[in-house]
Symmetry: C2
Subunit: 367 residues, 2 copies
């Protein structure tokens, strides 16, 4: 069978998925005892201790399908954010919600506007649905360029996607910039405000959470995969006008997210202490890393998320640095797929992991 | 904002999701102590005892993203079925795999051929992607009509979907019929053989598993949601030619299924004893229910899955019967959405649940 012949063009253009190396594989290959996984912006502290009991209690009825709307969790999220339950949708992580957005709203030939250096998940899901992307260059400060984005919107634009704070850059739009964006987008164009790193960002003085300046065309994405430490469970949520949520629920897979994920997220959502501890660890780790980079004359972007972006001189230097760090057991993320081939993203980990990073860095980094 | 104006036509046509009543809601509403949930073809025995420890061990690293290809489980499935790992894809249940199929293979204006009385999940996912469905009436025996399906295939047909055994009817294509279907479908048309109930069906003498008569255009779906009792985890798999799997992996969400689901399924897959016990329970329960229905002159279809379909005189009778049974604490499934408004599907449960069914039936059923 000639698979190429039967495929749509947009699927042919997608790159095949290549799985990264597991921790076990890295250990074996380089004969290492200690691995510091600083590649995927996961919470290196783990997750709340309350998760275990919550999951155990769900296992007693694991033969049953999950609650399709995650009623209890939906209620808790609505309550904490002072919104209606009908304005909340739970799904299997931000990637799934982005897929839902791409499946729900686009008519033929409509496009989406975003930056050229942002979350690769949006690029991929748009590609899966054959949606044309207008990628606007980020500013010299690696920020979303508000004016250029507004200029890129045309009569066929259905959606503007921003991540605030942005991933992989850790940069953000100030309140003034964010308001200007929201005010400038036509009201029949949807604005996706991806706040995957909200919990790390929220106390930054001039950061404006999308919920605090909301219009009917704004869809906010948040996740339990980052500060809550539940990436393995795949669970996140969208906040939007209930008319939009109603449509999104039509295309969501009926039974996502899973039953254990719902229980785990509900338990984790209530553990404010673990959350503060996680945010504090990241703030201390960032200060330490900034000092270290300054001492070693490394270019980087200060970040309000849980990762810091190193800027190397070119793609070759970025490849070489990550490869050499890997041999020392420090797994980092090149972000060429995110549009920044000369940059490397470093997740802020525990003290011991940051020490591992620094010591390995000193051995392999060449300016 | 006028949501209707911004929506594509196929999304407007989808019905809004309406969540069913939870067990707790039914208990409260009708002031009941005992509920028998015989509505969703779940395994009423629960799942393997091995699942708990497997999930607990994964919780230690739940902050990390899942293995995107579920390597260990993929290996186990390939080995047991004597195929290559590259011929297996794990995903978040059959509904997710059907969504992946709809996202991956359809060009504009291509259609899918299936029966008018089969798994509603296929109807829904096709609707989400705006795929035209050619629904062929089932035979008088409530079976897929092989000749009519072959006749319905036209130059724009991309896919033929069959469930074997079929859901919700419990009927199946014999080996001879299945071969005739496979041989009659053009080689550039994909055939989806949904075997969600494979484990219940496999010992039926004239049932032919799709793996035993395989061509390059056949994609087999199996699940851990039924006989393995893991519906709450959302995990299933596709078996197909590796060239097809490569394309499907491009549109699968990167990190589905979840890490705990992978671990649970791997543990459950090895527990052959629990599986036999589950299948035996269903076989005994079906024999008992057939006798009961015969005694009460109820029309039904003998089934090779874990449910039995009752045939009532009209839709009103089906609505009335399920409503009255609900008041007694027996949750059943009307299957109007599956194309059979005058029928009710009964999941085979434990002895006590089947007794609950029989006793309630005697009080509410009017011929």
């Amino acid at each position: 069978m000639n698979v190429d012949k039967i495929l749509p063009e947009n699927i042919k253009r997608l790159k095949p998925y290549v799985a990264g190396k597991t921790i076990a594989e890295v250990k074996n290959k380089y004969n290492l005892d200690t691995i510091s996984k600083l590649a995927s912006n996961e919470n290196r502290l783990g997750c709340s201790v309350r998760v275990k009991d919550a999951v155990l209690s769900v296992l007693n009825n694991i033969q049953d399908y999950p609650d399709p709307v995650a009623q209890q969790l939906r209620h808790a999220i609505a309550k904490r954010n002072d919104i209606e339950e009908s304005e909340v949708m739970l799904a299997a992580g931000s990637e799934s919600i982005i897929s839902i957005l791409c499946r729900t709203f686009f008519k033929e030939n409509e496009n989406a506007v975003t930056a050229d250096a942002t979350f690769v998940g949006f690029f991929v899901q748009a590609g899966v649905q054959g949606i044309a992307l207008k990628k606007v260059p980020v500013t010299e400060e690696y920020k979303f360029d508000v004016d250029a984005i507004l200029n890129a919107i045309d009569s066929e634009t259905k959606m503007v996607y921003i991540a605030n704070p942005n991933n992989p850059t850790g940069t953000y739009l100030t309140g003034e910039e964010y308001r200007r964006l929201i005010d400038g987008v036509p009201e029949d164009v949807l604005i996706i405000a991806d706040e995957a790193y909200y919990e790390y960002a929220v106390n930054t003085p001039d950061y404006l959470p999308a919920l605090d300046y909301r219009k009917d065309n704004v869809i906010i994405l948040r996740t339990f995969s980052k500060a809550y430490g539940l990436a393995g469970f795949r669970i996140g949520y969208a906040i939007a006008h209930s008319d939009l949520i109603t449509e999104m629920l039509k295309t969501k897979l009926t039974f996502e997210p899973t039953a254990p994920a719902q229980a785990a997220a509900l338990a984790a959502y209530d553990d404010i202490d673990f959350l503060s501890k996680s945010v504090d660890l990241v703030n201390e780790g960032k200060e330490r890393l900034y000092r270290f980079f300054d001492e070693h004359n490394v270019s980087f972007k200060p970040s309000i998320s849980n990762s810091v972006m190193m800027i190397l001189k070119d793609e070759k230097a970025a490849i070489n640095f990550t490869d050499e760090m890997l041999k020392k057991g420090v797994i980092l993320r090149r972000i060429n797929a995110f549009g920044l081939p000369n940059c490397v993203r470093i997740t802020i980990g525990k003290e011991s992991e940051m020490t591992h990073f620094e010591e390995s860095f000193k051995e392999v980094y060449r300016n």
